[in-house]
Amino acid sequence: MAPQARIGLIVTAIGFFAGIWLFLAPFIVEYQKVGQDWVDATKNDLWTGGALIAISALTLILFSAFALRDAARAAEQEGAAELEES
């Protein structure tokens, strides 16, 4: 895997954790009291955080899946080349 892709994956993971932080922030920073109606800021943070978690998770899963597929193809091609040589 290219070094850019590795750092890109780390960046995506940071986005995932930022989503978790946004999801929990209203209750950690206590601008949303437990048991009360959600204020606008809470709704915004929960929706944005949830979307960010979903986007980052989907990106991580799909990126890993395609990277594994590419690696498998490369291994198959190498094996075929070795067989032809021998």
């Binding site: 290219a2 995506t12 946004l22 206590e30 204020v39 800021a41 915004n44 944005t48 990106t59 990277a67």
Partner: protein
């Protein structure tokens, strides 16, 4: 290749989420303009700004990975590289019109010289052929073979 496109799309959406987080307190009006920032505004802004920066960096990285992959497959060429086997002619840098004109002259000079040489050789051959026919014409009456067929 698809993995880089997916990564870049994810990073772009992350950057857009960061922009939205920075604007949301004002767009949704839970932060009054001119008033001191409330806790939700601090949280959203200082989460949105790093998210925007990090996602933009990720986007650049994924796109550079994609470009590298395309170059590796031969779909894209590296910019400002001469094709293999074609050495560049020495001369002044091709920045202005006179420099490129000089370069063109240098390229055309051997061609024009070869053409001139060829033309001169043809002229010489033609002159030689003419000299030969004139000598033949002059030789006929001296031979004293008038009226006979010459083989």
């Amino acid at each position: 290749m698809a993995k880089y496109v997916i990564g870049a799309t994810g990073a772009l959406l992350g950057a857009l989420a960061g922009v939205w987080l920075m604007l949301a307190p004002f767009a949704l009006a839970y932060q009054g303009s001119g008033a001191n920032w409330a806790d939700p505004t601090y949280v959203d802004f200082w989460t949105g700004l790093p998210l925007l920066v990090v996602s933009a960096a990720g986007l650049i990285l994924y796109v550079s990975g994609l470009v590298e992959e395309l170059r590796h497959r031969g779909i894209m060429r590296r910019p400002y590289t001469a094709p293999a086997g074609q050495p560049q002619a020495p001369g002044p840098p091709q920045g202005n019109a006179s420099a490129s004109e000089n370069n063109m002259e240098q390229i055309l000079l051997p061609l024009v010289t070869a053409m001139l040489k060829d033309m001169q050789e043809r002229d010489r051959e033609r002159d030689g052929a003419r000299g030969g026919t004139v000598a033949d014409v002059r030789q006929t009456p001296n031979a004293g073979e008038e009226g006979s067929v010459r083989r």
